[in-house]
């Protein structure tokens, strides 16, 4: 966890320094704001990982001498098949077509999106098919 935190915090720190130099030198706001946001985007997960890295024991994947047996146990739920990503994708497709061809495309678009969100959530609760 420590290396992950360092990668993100290091990038964020560099973006912060670069932002300070750039903003003070150029007085141009668009780039300054975007660089500042880039710094925050690295600090947010980076500080989360750092906070945890100080409070947890090294995971097997952080331990250079770990054996494969240490990875035993529950890894996670990996659904085998699911129709909902496809439904959601098609819904997003129709929503985007509404931007081009007319607002009426939102009817099937948002319909599919809502259906997929409900279906996907329900599937997540049931655990999904394998």
């Amino acid at each position: 966890m420590r290396v992950e935190a360092k990668v993100l915090l290091g990038l964020g720190l560099f973006f912060g320094l670069m932002c300070a130099v750039y903003w003070n030198w150029s007085l141009e706001n668009a780039g300054g704001v975007m660089m500042f946001a880039g710094m925050l985007l690295c600090f947010l997960p980076g500080s989360y990982y750092y906070w945890w890295s100080r409070r947890m024991r090294a995971r097997p994947e952080d331990d250079p001498n770990a054996t494969q047996g240490q990875g035993a146990g529950f890894v996670g739920t990996f659904p085998g098949t699911s129709i909902w990503p496809f439904t959601l994708g098609m819904g997003a497709f129709f929503v985007v077509l509404a931007l081009v061809f007319g607002i009426w495309f939102l009817v099937p678009g948002l319909g599919l999106v809502v259906w997929a969100l409900l279906g996907g959530t329900a599937e997540g609760r049931r655990g999904g098919k394998y």
Binding site: V7, Y22, E61, N65, G69, G80, S82
Partner: protein, 574 residues
């Protein structure tokens, strides 16, 4: 460390977690088949294969556009396409290649398949989000390309869509809106893939696979994923602003309403320059893997390689305005210094690639030839990029064919590396090798074609030929150089046809076995193609090349995180 020194047979059995997953995997046979299987799958390998096929089709489509463009330029007053069609074609050539081929091919196709296997994970962290990424990518591609079927034709403002050319007065019609819509969809697809890759690499590594034992390709994909998360939301925001300007009467980018047209360039290139590294870093990773495997050596300067990648990512957020030197409103020294600094980590990478091959036992397979071709071509493209980082030189060459030649050298290098990766990883994905003889022929067509295609363009650019023109003055030398470039483009086209022929000829003909290249990283430890959830068993991971350690206990590379006294072993055995 005794377990490391035991003979390979005594490696621990399958970890129970993977066993448990495998039991579920057997139910796969009762699952949907045929097209329903393709639609409902959440397996990262199937999704990755869909990505691979779709993005290679996009390469062919974008390549066909390029051939038409070059055919038009073969004569000074070409009449193959009209000016309007020419504008559509160069816009869509750039858009298809950047948005629909290079990125998705790297992080959707190969990273999607290889990153979980390289770190010993059963799947991506969010399999259903992964499937959604593919559907957004496919529908985005369809949306963008369907502009050709509208009355006004496809988008024709260049792949950068500069304001005010891209507003509703200068570019009316559905084609431009379809371009924006398609880009929104593919942009979200990329963001979701970025989230997925980050989470997978941070949380699903196998025991012992510390961060500094991950293969360079996985490292590069992690950095790419972070850059995606930094850059793509900016593009999405910019596209929404552009759409509002076009349809809702806002004046964000129009001078008349008090807006700032150059703001679009700032937003676009704040995405666009990190995007260059989002495209390049995955292919750097592929080339690194190939060079190490076919030189029979570990990656030279592993940590240097990782830090070079991280420095490129760090600098990449501070270089965007070198695309905007000629606007006259950007801070020239800052962007010049930052752009020149990027040459340092990139130089480290080239040094390390050569170091990896140095005194290696080189096997000139197709993949290796492609990777060496990548290094050479990328060096040409990279060095001409250093010229362009200098504002005085950029003022002289901006928007000429010199710039076109520069970035085509770079992206053709990426195509070489990507083709190499298909030859290298194809057997792992499909279980069958590609024909080496046709592959080598393809390499020579692609490599020579690339140089013949780009080199005349450098000269044309220095002589002042502007880019994005359908006709040019009658001048024997310009005609000759353009013809030469077109000839190079034809050679590249032949190489692509050879690849398709190779796939057809080799179809299920040459069974690969699990590890045809005697490779080093974890993906070659499992079967070809890997089973559902990837591994029946895992070796002990004690260095950045666990499969090599397992297969060659006599000269194990004791990588990072081992005890100092064991480094003595490494030295004596190598």
């Amino acid at each position: 460390m005794t377990d490391l020194l035991d003979p390979p047979v005594q490696l621990p059995p399958v970890p129970p977690a993977h066993e448990a997953i495998e039991e579920h995997g057997h139910d796969e046979h009762h699952g949907p088949t045929g097209i329903l299987k393709w639609i409902t799958t959440t397996d990262h390998k199937v999704i990755g294969l869909s990505y691979t096929i779709t993005s290679v089709i996009m390469l062919v489509i974008g390549g066909a556009f390029a051939e038409i463009l070059r055919a038009q330029l073969a004569t000074p007053n070409g009449t193959l396409v009209s000016f309007a069609q020419y504008n559509e074609l160069f816009t869509m050539h750039g858009s298809v290649m950047i948005y629909l081929f290079a990125g998705p091919f790297a992080f959707g196709a190969l990273a999607n398949i290889m990153v979980p296997i390289q770190i010993g994970a059963p799947d991506m962290a969010f399999p259903r989000l992964n499937a959604l990424s593919y559907w957004l990518y496919l529908t985005g591609a369809i949306t963008m390309l369907s502009g050709f079927f509208t009355a006004g034709g496809a988008a024709n403002f260049g792949w950068v869509a500069y304001a005010p050319l891209s507003n509703s007065v200068n570019t009316p019609g559905a084609g431009a809106d379809l371009w924006i819509g398609g880009l929104l969809l593919t942009g979200f697809s990329a963001i979701f893939t970025g989230v997925n890759l980050c989470a997978t690499i941070f949380y699903l590594r196998a025991p012992g696979m510390t961060m500094f034992r991950m293969p360079i390709f996985t490292w590069n994909m992690l950095v790419t994923a972070i850059l995606i998360l930094l850059a793509f939301p900016v593009l999405t925001a910019g596209l929404i602003m552009l759409y509002c300007d076009r349809h809702f009467g806002t004046h964000i980018f129009s001078v008349q309403g008090g807006g700032v047209p150059v703001l679009w360039q700032h937003i676009f290139w704040f995405w666009g320059h990190p995007e260059v590294y989002i495209l390049a870093l995955p292919f750097f990773g592929m080339a690194t893997e190939i060079l190490a495997v076919f030189s029979r050596k570990p990656v030279f300067g592993y940590k240097g390689m990782v830090f070079a990648t991280l420095s490129i990512a760090a600098l990449s957020l501070g270089v965007w305005a070198h695309h905007m030197f000629t606007t006259g409103v950007v801070l020239l020294p800052f962007f010049s210094i930052m752009s020149l600094l990027i040459a340092v980590p990139t130089g480290i990478k080239i040094f390390n690639w050569i170091g990896t091959m140095w005194r290696g036992e080189i096997w000139f397979s197709t993949a290796m030839l492609m990777a060496i071709g990548f290094v050479v071509t990328f060096l040409i493209g990279g060095l001409t990029g250093i010229y362009l980082a200098s504002p005085p030189l950029d003022f002289f060459t901006h928007d000429t064919y010199f710039v076109v030649a520069h970035f085509h050298s770079v992206v053709m290098a990426l195509v070489l590396a990507g083709m190499g990766a298909l030859y290298y990883w194809g057997p792992k994905i499909t279980g069958y090798l590609l024909n080496e003889r046709i592959g080598k022929l393809q390499f020579w067509f692609l490599f020579i074609g690339t140089q013949v295609f780009t080199f005349p363009l450098y000269i044309l650019g220095l002589e002042g030929m502007p880019r994005r023109v359908a006709v040019y003055p009658h001048d024997p030398q310009w005609k000759f150089l353009n013809d030469l470039s077109t000839f190079g483009a034809v050679l590249i086209g032949v190489s692509t046809i050879l690849f398709v022929v190779n796939v057809a000829v080799s179809w299920k003909r040459y069974p690969a076995g699990d590890n045809p290249w005697d490779a080093q990283t974890l993906e070659w430890f499992t079967t070809s193609p890997p089973p559902h959830h990837n591994f029946y068993r895992l070796p002990q991971i004690r260095s950045e090349r666990p499969t090599w350690d397992y297969n060659h206990p006599e000269h194990r590379s004791l990588g990072h995180g081992t005890h100092p006294e064991e480094h003595h072993d490494e030295v004596s055995s190598s």
